[in-house]
């Protein structure tokens, strides 16, 4: 049961949240300019990071706001929490 600090509500139990998978996957501005492989990479492919991983979470049973989390997939330690459009303190997204 992770303890996740919602940027708006503060620390709450994991059961209040849902994970949305890898963060910082930007929807292509012009999908038609992409090859099939590039489009497939955007739609289907995700990194399987061992270590610090940027992922999206939403405070489903709270403020319903989405935000980003840097979580270590080995230790489950949460290194940073930051709002959409922000960069994590002391690191790059």
């Amino acid at each position: 049961m992770l303890l996740i600090t919602c940027p708006w509500c503060g620390p709450r139990a994991e059961s209040e949240f849902s994970c949305g998978g890898e963060a910082h996957i930007v929807r292509p501005k012009d999908p038609d300019a992409l090859s099939d492989a590039e489009w497939a990479d955007y739609v289907f492919y995700r990194t399987n990071t061992k270590g610090d991983h940027a992922e999206q979470w939403v405070h489903t049973y709270g403020c319903r706001r989405w935000f980003n989390v840097i979580r270590n997939t080995v230790t489950y330690e949460i290194k940073a929490v930051y709002k959409p459009g922000e960069t994590p303190a002391g690191g790059e997204a």
Binding site: M1, L3, A13, R27, P31, L34, W39, F44, V58, I78
Partner: protein, 1002 residues
């Protein structure tokens, strides 16, 4: 035998003034308050408690706590039955009833014990090797036989009458275990004012001190415990939880505790909650979980009367049980000499202490020698003998190179206390992700470097002396409080004198004097009957990894999870593979530390409280009018409304005919509704839906398909435009929450610049669909201020007015192909409006209908239901809905249409099916093939997605997803069914009624 014949005359912590009667295997016994079932049975001279799992060998109590592998009992019967309860942990209560598990017909005479004679024919992997063929025999014969032969306790089949609850807690310091280290830690932390929870699995706090003969500050250890508990009771921020097992150490210092509230009470005295699940988030955790003594491994080491030395001291000192008349102690370390002294002090004849070490000179061996106890050094017990109870041991010398030799001597005894050293209880540390470290010096695994905010102290950290436990506990408690921002110092350690000890001699298994394959079985895992020979066999057969060996032999797979046997087993495997123990690996402990009953995990999340039930504002009317209900997500929706004498078929036929020939109405309130406002609302819908929204007129509605980026249909529904920047979207009933989350996510993460606000209004509005040729007349009467003429109120238009005097939004849309209106009103006024529609329709025999009729009506028109006719792999084009896709401009999923697989023309496509026999209704899900007689695997051409009897068509109709289906009109396919029938059906367009759409164009 008289009651409690084996109870010592004095001593112990039992309450002799309070006798407690109980029944074991149908026979009545008496114990005392403060006994466990194990101690009470031992006090009555009962040592044979169980039969082993595989060989049905006689087994007795070996331990005194959670690590007990043998003494599993079936506790109580009927709804209160508890399978596999450990006799060592069941507190005795009046009228307790327990019986042996795994014994038939009785524990004294077990028919299956014949397995023991064939032990050599039932080696590790026996089941894998033997019961392989023929395959069909597995479920019918082998499994039945094995389950009967190999079962542990029997799970109750009755509804559990107990209640369970959950509670959440936060604390600064959680101390696990209330032995000397834990009590010391709780005192040091508690004195700082920190919020402390101290949990211990036993009824009485104190751990090893309750059986100890040592003194603390000159007082008996138990008195120090009393004083510590008294002080903790004065600290307002300290919570002491007895009978509370910390069974899980999860992420971010979240721990779970099962607190047993009334298992110690007679059944008739139990009330309220049986167990409480504590979900604790702790800033710091101090683990003081102690150590489990390891058995020594030699022939017949599983006989009743062979017990761990520490347990012998516990039963002697704490429970005042005389365990035998003639005892032998077999130990590779000094601590068991204390047990010899305890037995001696209790008047038991200690025949000898057998020690593989030469001339042990530790303080305790010297004290034993001074007490006149014979020490047979440089020797081992090679074999125990006896039937249902040990009757003696064979002792041989141990040479310097680790072999047995010399002449054997036989010693008679009825009790053998064994000690192979101590294994720290590192389960919780390991669960917290700290990787255990092997210590050659202490011959045990020690807790690894902490990953979470925890520290291990006392015996579970490999610090086995009382002084170290107290000093370590005090320091750790104070430090934990400091790290949780409390100011405090480390209290002075009380005055304790530990005996000086000599090092132990690691002895993982006693060498067998017999030839390989001969000699009696030496057990490593008692519960699963895993012996030395099984592990060696696994090694011979190529198992290198301890994890594989465990699975092959079942080592550590019992309800005790190998608390006693795992280390010995690893060492035997390491020896067989000629490698070191750390090379062989450790095992990762996972929750739960001891079994937790499902009731505790479920708590109150049961039955109707398991998931919320949602009812529409009209639910009461539906109930009053005899509706049968269907669960759609969390909603209760009317399924159909049978009239007296009608079955479902008759009711649905009647409802379907009414909708097409007269007028019918349905409660459509469960459709998801999202109020969308903002200046970018239309642009937002342009991206979310497949069609164009900017030019939709105010007061008009449009059907939309929603896709995922892979181009597959995700949801659908009608959205109306109330104003330039104000829309109301409807979603499928089941998809409402999903869609809301989907929309929010795009707005928050991808398009935060868009000025759009979303509000879920599903529950705010009630929706009444009025359907059929007579619907216009009915709604005209209900909404007199709205002009319902064909010209004034066209198809896909919205009008605002009143319905039965209530502000209403009326939309002319149709999910049936008939003339149809949906009246949306404030949910609080729903009943009033519904009643008005019923009254206005009375002269047309207006007919309420449910979801089944809705499904038939839409299938007659070929309208899809997302999730039934689509499954996440269906594009709009696959459904023949290319008309819903705009030609220019981007939207979610569009780019995927041109991916090669999505652009294929021969994908599975939605078609209609007409069975050759019009009276046969295909089952939904039926697979379709070209040739039903083709050999298996017969290529699948598609499957039936929707199928109904259509009263309006006078025959069955179906929809199916068929490969390249659009090009296969008129082709006949076959559905071979599970019951042997083969149903033939011809592919057609999926519109069975009114293909021109004339019905609603009126």
């Amino acid at each position: 035998m008289s009651a409690q014949a084996k109870r010592l005359d004095r001593g112990g912590r039992i309450d002799r003034a309070t006798p407690v009667n109980f029944t074991f295997n149908g026979k009545t016994y008496q114990g005392c308050a403060g006994d466990t079932v194990a101690s009470a049975l031992l006090a009555n001279g009962v040592h044979l408690l169980a039969r082993s799992w595989k060989y049905h060998r006689p087994r007795g109590v070996i331990a005194a706590g959670a690590e007990e592998p043998n003494a599993l009992l079936q506790l109580e019967t009927g709804a209160y039955a508890v399978p596999n309860a450990r006799a060592t942990q069941i507190e005795l209560y009046e009228d307790l009833k327990a019986s042996s598990v795994n014994a038939w017909p009785s524990v004294e005479f077990d028919a299956m014990a014949i397995n023991g004679w064939f032990a050599r024919m039932i080696p590790a992997g026996f089941y894998y090797k033997t019961f392989m063929w023929p395959k069909s025999f597995w479920t019918k014969h082998y499994e039945h036989y094995i389950r009967k032969a190999a079962g542990f306790g029997v799970a109750p089949v009755d509804h559990d009458p107990n209640r369970y609850e959950k509670t959440n807690a936060h604390c600064d310091v959680l101390v696990v275990g209330a032995g000397p280290a834990g009590l010391a830690a709780a005192l040091a932390a508690g004195r700082s004012g920190a919020r402390v929870i101290l949990a211990d699995e036993q009824a009485e706090m104190g751990g090893s001190l309750l059986a100890s003969t040592q003194t603390i500050d000159g007082q008996p250890a138990a008195e120090w415990v009393s004083a510590a508990l008294a002080e903790l009771a004065t600290l307002p921020e300290v919570r002491v939880l007895p009978r509370a097992t910390v069974y899980g150490y999860l992420d971010h210092n979240f721990l779970t505790i099962a607190e047993r509230l009334n298992d110690h009470l007679p059944l008739r005295a139990r009330s309220a909650n049986r167990e409480r699940l504590w979900r604790v988030r702790a800033k710091r955790v101090v683990l003081a979980t102690g150590a489990h003594e390891r058995p020594l491994v030699f022939g017949n080491n599983d006989l009743p009367g062979v017990m761990l030395a520490g347990a012998v001291s516990t039963y002697t000192n704490r429970y005042a049980v005389r365990l035998g008349d003639k005892a032998v102690v077999f130990t590779n370390n000094d601590s068991a000499y204390q047990s010899a002294l305890d037995l001696h002090a209790a008047g038991v004849n200690v025949v000898a202490v057998v020690d593989p070490r030469s001339n042990p000179q530790g303080e305790l061996p010297l004290a034993a020698r001074a007490a006149g106890i014979r020490i047979i050094d440089a020797s081992v017990v090679t074999e125990a003998r006896g039937g249902k109870r040990i009757s003696g041991v064979q002792v041989m010398g141990l040479t310097a190179n680790g072999e047995v030799g010399g002449s054997a001597q036989a010693l008679d005894c009825d009790l053998l206390a064994i000690s192979g050293g101590w294994s720290p209880v590192i389960h919780l540390s390991s669960q917290s992700c700290a990787k255990a470290i092997w210590s050659d010096e202490k011959a045990c695994f020690l807790p690894g470097k902490p990953v979470q905010a925890e520290v291990s102290v006392g015996a579970c950290a490999g610090e086995f002396t009382l002084n170290a436990a107290l000093a370590g506990g005090l320091a750790a408690g104070a430090q934990a409080a400091q790290l949780a921002d409390f100011e405090t110092g480390v209290p002075a350690t009380p005055e304790v004198r530990d005996p000086l000890e000599q090092p132990m001699l690691a002895l993982w298994r006693v060498p067998s004097p017999a030839k390989p394959g001969r000699g009696s079985k030496a057990f490593i895992d008692f519960q699963n009957d895993v012996g030395v020979s099984d592990i060696r066999l696994a090694a011979r057969e190529g198992y290198q990894s301890i994890e594989h060996t465990k699975r092959y032999t079942a080592l550590g797979f019992g309800t005790d999870q190998g608390k006693l046997g795992n280390i010995n087993g690893m060492a035997v495997l390491a020896e067989a593979l000629a490698q070191t123990l750390p090379e062989t690996g450790t095992t990762t402990f996972r929750p739960n530390y001891t079994p937790v009953t499902f009731g505790t995990i479920a708590g109150r999340d049961l039955g109707e409280l398991f998931d919320p039930i949602r009812k529409t504002a009209l639910h009461g009317w539906h109930v009053e009018h005899g509706a049968k209900f269907e669960d759609v997500g969390q909603w209760k929706r009317p399924w159909y409304y049978p009239r007296p004498g009608e079955d479902m078929h008759a009711a649905v036929n009647r409802e379907c005919l009414a909708a097409r020939n007269g007028v019918a109405l349905m409660d459509a309130s469960t459709l998801g509704k999202v109020d969308i406002q903002g200046e970018d609302a239309a642009e937002f819908l342009n991206l979310i839906y497949t069609n164009a929204w900017k030019k939709l007129g105010i007061g008009m509605a449009r059907y939309g398909l929603m896709l995922k980026e892979d181009g597959m249909i995700f949801d659908d529904g009608v959205t109306v435009r109330l104003a330039e920047n104000h829309f109301v979207m409807t979603t499928t009933t089941g998809g409402a929450a999903r869609v809301m989350t989907w929309l929010e996510r795009w707005l928050q993460t991808e398009w935060p610049h868009m000025k759009v606000r979303l509000t879920s209004v599903t529950d705010h509005w009630a929706t009444i669909a009025v359907v059929g040729p007579k619907s216009r007349e009915v709604v005209s009467r209900v909404c007199p201020d709205i002009d319902f003429s064909k010209e004034a109120f066209p198809f896909m238009a919205l009008r605002e007015g009143t319905a039965a005097g209530v502000a209403a939004r009326v939309v002319r849309i149709s999910f049936s192909g008939e003339l149809s209106y949906e009246i949306n009103v404030n949910a609080n006024a729903a009943r009033q409006v519904w009643d008005a529609v019923m009254a206005a329709g009375a002269e047309f025999d207006i007919t309420p209908y449910g979801t089944e009729t809705m499904h038939v009506l839409r299938a007659e028109k070929g309208f899809i239901i997302v999730g039934q006719d689509t499954d996440g792999s269906v594009t709009p084009q696959d459904c023949g809905m290319g008309w819903a896709i705009k030609k220019t401009g981007d939207f979610i999923g569009r780019r995927s249409f041109s991916r090669p697989d999505t652009a294929r023309s021969d994908r599975k496509q939605l078609v209609g099916l007409l069975t050759s026999d019009p009276n046969v209704v295909l089952p939904e899900g039926a697979q379709l093939v070209k040739n039903p007689n083709a050999p298996i695997p017969n290529p699948m051409e598609g499957h039936v997605s929707s199928s109904y009897w259509s009263a309006n068509c006078g025959r069955s109709i179906a929809m199916a997803l068929v490969k390249d289906g659009f090009k296969r009109m008129g082709e006949t396919l076959h559905a071979p069914l599970g019951d042997g029938r083969v149903v033939s059906a011809t592919i057609c367009k999926p519109v069975f009624i009114d293909p021109e759409g004339a019905h609603q164009n009126v």
